[in-house]
Subunit: 460 residues, 4 copies
């Protein structure tokens, strides 16, 4: 396994990464990205065990519903790059299970890659969403054939790929890019049916970073986002060579969707469990601020908090059902598709309403609570402490800090990032409806209806 | 155990029951209530096993999450009086567990009663909702002291009770009325803290029946409700004597609410599992009618059905979570309160929207599909078959019968009964919010929020 | 103008109408349909003015926003057949305005027909919805070519039509059927582009009636529906001859949709104004029952009623905006399409939630309040009066009657009819979205967005 | 009237204003607040007319529904400080009308003040929300008596006030603070019933500014907020003297609420009209991005945009109804309370769902679209233009700029500000429910219900 220090050194590998118009020469000392690298390094130190057989708990594969459940808090504690590495490992393992019979050589290559990744203790991110061009047209019918990542050259020892992958969280801070087709492919789209692991410092890989990191001079007013932000990478494959042993699919169009579906399962499980946790946080903030405002016993406030509680419980129930009904195979334990997808959909679709409740309960000071520096100013400090306080026992600065956290989490750059990400992670709401529909037993529902109506199937 | 025939005879016990202004002299031959009695009798025959030790599976107590789960389909197959008997048995068992330490003599009396009921194979209904008078005032402050059922006289061998219990499904068709306080009582309200089992033919018990049974001359147009309707009883205790051995609480006000809460758990589990099943039925009807209309591939129709599917799955997930997290005690297995209540709330709160989707998908023929007799008329029959049919393979009468079932289930007397009952069973939506809030771990949510905000509890 | 008595006589014209499997020989004395005829007759007497120039206010055309507004309460007071007659007159007038330039001969025929109808003081219903067959296919591609009403024969003096029209409220009780294409037609579908006025007693016209009339022996428990029910007609044109002077379109496919759109406008205005009125009624019932239950000051009850009030106000605001922005032409004043459609959509889409609030506020006695006969029974009457009463000043029977009205209006046959009709009248929710979209100024919205983004159109 | 230059000079008046811990010595040259001052100055130049009688159109009082309607686009074009000045003028005028009979001397003082303000062409902001302390307790029962602004000393020529007013948009950039009680006061709370106009540079006035201004080094990525941001002032009255002629209420507790209610009307009208405009913008962005993505014809995308259109139309309808039903008095035209409040509530309550639709339609590039500097970099620029473009005719940078605008407007600091402000402006959702309820004709609704139920009022 790697230590944090080893990880930091590993980033110095000539990767071509850009931040707001400039090439980043040293990630570790960069004012915005450096702290992100430090965060991942901390994770390495946290999980580190000595010994050549040691495997990070976030890279080990769960084999029972119990183990599956135990992984969830580990992901929430970890930095997002590590969490995504877990999802990548699990995606590949799920793919190996699903294609094992039909494409045994790829399945074996995947298993071998996973073992190596565990051993090397690397960080892997998932590269799925293509640029897509005109979304009403398939890959082969675009004005620009590179709108979807594809093979543009073929050599004896590997292939050359071209295209772009968007919204790749932590791309600049990982070691490898698990690159998979964004959707099902059809005959004639063979060159687009490419799945592979790409080293982030391969020649031709270029990453443009964006971030929701607070750019305000005083990070203390951003108590949540300042501690966890991680860049999003716009990853460009500008004719990148990938050697054969890193290729997991190459042209077998009928299997292209299995990668996206497998990733979807783990991304949505991650999304679902994250939103279950966040839903509890939102409830907690609502209750804390209601108490600080003196409104915790007000009927309409309690009603809103009760709605938030019910939402949090429904999301949690979906997660519980997804794990309790997991599928255990010889390769690992996979959560139930139906409950995972329906739960993720419900959580995302109602997140904005829960935030609205929190805003409604809290009041305008979410926006206008003075900053920490205002509390430090000798003229305004005492006055703000006086007027932001509400009663004996509720300190003005404590209350201001609650407001800062609520703003940061729900009504500022990071809040916007969450709102969009909750909906878009694992595909937009429409995608999640389709997957839920796919796994729901519609035939049985029709039989129940006919039975209720007293209509024999024969009559129909 | 009893056979159906024995059950029918047992009803001839001088019970004082009324239907639409008239005393019912013979339940079994009554045009509206007779079929209900026959339905319960069928249940007896269905579950019958010979032998003096035989116990109906709906009267046996589950002891594991697996047994708890297996009871659910049994309830759905059974008539509602039998299902309510199961809920009564489980309510009493839960009460015995919860009051066992403090009031061992009552707990023992309850256990003994349950054993007797299992042996006698009787049907028991739950009498909880009082007349309540002015709901803003407690029992002791009403203009009429009888607004809540209470003890009005006390003898050496028992008590005399007075009051009314409303919405008692199947009261006229059971053997005993499990009568419990409708809510928490306070010091000074001792006479209202009365729980007991009352024989339905006790002198002074009067039952006024109402029904959603179809009153249309042709029951064939009501394929659902005509087969399952059961009267609601307005049960009046007009000074009814109850002997001591049938009394489960008498004046211990601090324990009064335990009965209602225990009943609430089982009523809501019943409601939740029923709504999970119905949600599937609604999905099934939506898909069947969309197919019959030729609209199953229409995007906006699929979107609506997907929403119905997600709803059905969320409700089912709550049920799964409630059972997977059940509490197993030495007396039995009890479902998790939090998931049961939140799931019941969500299912009830969104039921109307699911019905709206079904109506939106189906079209106006829900209301205007001609009846079976119109299909039999030699002039109109062939024309209706022609015009209600939609394509080769979709027969006009089949489609009309689908519409009849949808109307009966969602847009006629029984549909109205369901809409109200889903919301009101186990208390209105407000009551379910309160119970959910009670069982949610608010303290932990606050800690999560403080942790997220980077505020140490000490600072607060 | 006609009197009620003259109207009743006019129904004795050999029309071929069926009720639950039987030909109806005498409408006026029929146990279910007779009271409907009497209701229409009362309307005649109510609006009657002597003199050969007299025109019913419900047949006169409004020419200003003020007159348009004044018509609305008149429709609510009138029986539904008269209200539909007004809609038919206005539909035809709108069509005449819209096709006047292109098809002056038809426009003139329509105006002449309208003048005659005003003079003859007849009742006209709108026949639009065809049987439709497989809805994914156009009229000409159906397995049965009669799935949409069409011309099957052509004579010098007129045409012969065949097909069926569904959900025709009051068809059996009117004089003429305003028959129009159900949707846009395309080249090749000329025979389906037929609009005309058909006498209800034309040979070949057959009507199969369905009804939400209460079939319970005691109508007193159905205080709303027993007084207003009106049958829905399944109208079959079994080769019906229509003379030339009654034909308003015949083959001009590009104009076929104008009839449906014009009807849609007036149907949706009727729907919108009806739902505005009903929304007030629902608020009123919620408040009355909350007061009778002693809960009017309870916070969560007030919150729910406030939501109902906001809903009622939004629906009313749409109606106000539709009328304030009406289009005044030389032929008459027509409500604004955008506000009418958006308002109708909103009212229908949220109706079920308002009903849920009413059910949640009221309690289970909606379903189980004893009937009037139970109050008359000398044993049960006094007891029910006692226990259904809640406090000094709230009589048990008064409260029971409130519950009966709420059940009848929202949770019984008529309630189901309303729930479906609100969604389906004027097309389902999808149709109303499309029309709203059509009339919304999307171009202007895009310009507002570009302006906000600081993007000049040229840059785009 | 003043020019922009004169306005800028007028700010140099020793006002005591703070920004992020520092006293601001020169507003006009301050890096964050300077551009705000310039924005207000531009407004002065825009509205400037010479002549001593000239009055800014935003300070003139509308006297008809037509004039009321014409003011609305003027407010949207203007900077927010000017818009708030209009609301202040109208609030005072409304108050004068409402208290004129009872307190003629104050009414006259107000009218005189308004005339002076028009003549002086000053900018006025509304100071209403107090610190409030423990919200469950009234002003006189707080741990700190200054939690609500109150009179702490009384001199012959005026009073001294103490307290704080929160969320005062543009306080640092105006001339006067229209200070009014935050709510109804009761006997015993006379010192809190104080309304007055306070010069912003009065000794003792201290303002702590917060802002949603983008702090990112490149404002081009924030095309909306960088152009319109305005600071929120936390205004502290640290023993401020107010002369008698500037006092509009002083101790008359029964009239205290009239100020807040009058302000509420105009704040909510402003909120409603602003949200009507924004709803159109959101629709416009949704359509533009759907077109740029090639998804404008996709059914589920059209459905979501249709829902946004219906929302925008309902909000607009409320505004139309509020203006069409305005109350015209001798002092001016005031919008209808009922429609204004219900419309504002509906717009605010559903805003988050509309944003969710926009996010769902747009995709993750809302967050991850590279910045303008990335497009300027010679390595990444061409690649980003290639991959952010979608088809011939949709330029990558154009599309990126659409995403920047959507992020800025809905998913970044300003978006968070809007989400909270929409809910909180004019009081939270609860406050708007209460006001709507107050103005709704509940008595008439009850009569409609009784009439529907066939119950005569006497029977009740």
């Amino acid at each position: 396994m790697m230590t944090g220090e080893q990880y930091k050194k590993s980033l110095n590998d000539n990767r071509e990464t850009f931040f707001e118009g400039e090439r980043v020469r040293d990630l570790v000392t960069h004012p915005v990205l450096g702290p992100c690298a430090a965060r991942v390094a901390q994770g390495y130190d946290h999980w580190y065990s000595p010994g050549s057989d040691a495997v990070s708990p976030l890279m080990a594969i769960p084999h029972s519903s119990q183990e599956l459940k135990e992984r969830i808090p580990l992901q929430h504690e970890s930095d997002i790059v590590s969490a995504v590495t877990y999802q990548s490992i699990m995606t590949l393992t799920t793919v190996a299970t699903r294609i094992g019979d039909a494409l045994p050589q790829y399945a074996e290559r995947i298993r071998s890659y996973v073992r190596g990744a565990q051993h090397r203790d690397i960080r892997i991110v998932e590269c799925i969403t293509d640029a897509k061009g005109d979304r009403s047209r398939p890959p082969g019918k675009q004005d620009d054939p590179d709108a979807y990542t594809h093979v543009v050259d073929r050599r004896k020892d590997g292939v050359v790929i071209r295209g772009a992958k968007l919204h790749i969280t932590g791309a600049s801070l990982c070691h490898e890019l698990m690159t998979i087709p964004t959707k099902a492919m059809k005959p004639g789209e063979e060159s687009y049916a490419i799945a592979c692991a790409v080293l982030v410092n391969s020649p031709g890989v270029k990453i443009v970073d964006t971030t929701y990191a607070p750019r305000h001079p005083d990070a203390r007013n951003f108590p949540v986002s300042s501690k966890i932000h991680m860049p999003e990478g716009f990853v460009i494959f500008d004719d990148v060579f990938v050697p054969n042993e890193r290729i997991f699919l190459d042209g077998e169009v009928t299997y292209a969707a299995i990668f996206a579906h497998s990733l979807g399962l783990w991304e949505r499980l991650g999304g679902l469990s994250g939103m279950a946790e966040e839903a509890d946080q939102l409830v907690g903030f609502a209750q804390l601020i209601a108490e600080a405002n003196g409104l915790a016993r007000e009927s309409h406030i309690k009603e809103k908090i009760s709605e938030m509680i019910i939402h949090a419980t429904l999301v949690r129930a979906s997660l519980e059902a997804a794990i309790a009904n997991c599928q255990v195979t010889s390769e690992g334990a996979f959560p139930d598709e139906l409950y995972t997808n329906a739960g993720k959909y419900h959580a995302a679709a109602n997140y904005n309403s829960m935030v609205r409740h929190l805003h409604d309960i809290s009041g305008g000071s979410i926006l206008t609570a003075p900053g920490i520096a205002d509390f430090e100013n000798e003229v305004t400090g005492p006055l703000l402490r006086k007027y932001m306080g509400t009663m004996t026992g509720v300190d003005g600065e404590y209350r201001a800090r609650l407001f800062h956290a609520i703003r940061d989490l729900t009504a500022d750059s990071y809040g916007g990032w969450k709102a969009v990400t909750n909906v878009q992670a694992g595909g937009g709401l429409y995608a999640q409806r389709i997957v839920t529909r796919k796994y729901y037993d519609l035939k049985s529902a029709k039989e129940k209806a006919l039975h209720t109506a007293g209509i024999k199937t024969a009559e129909k």
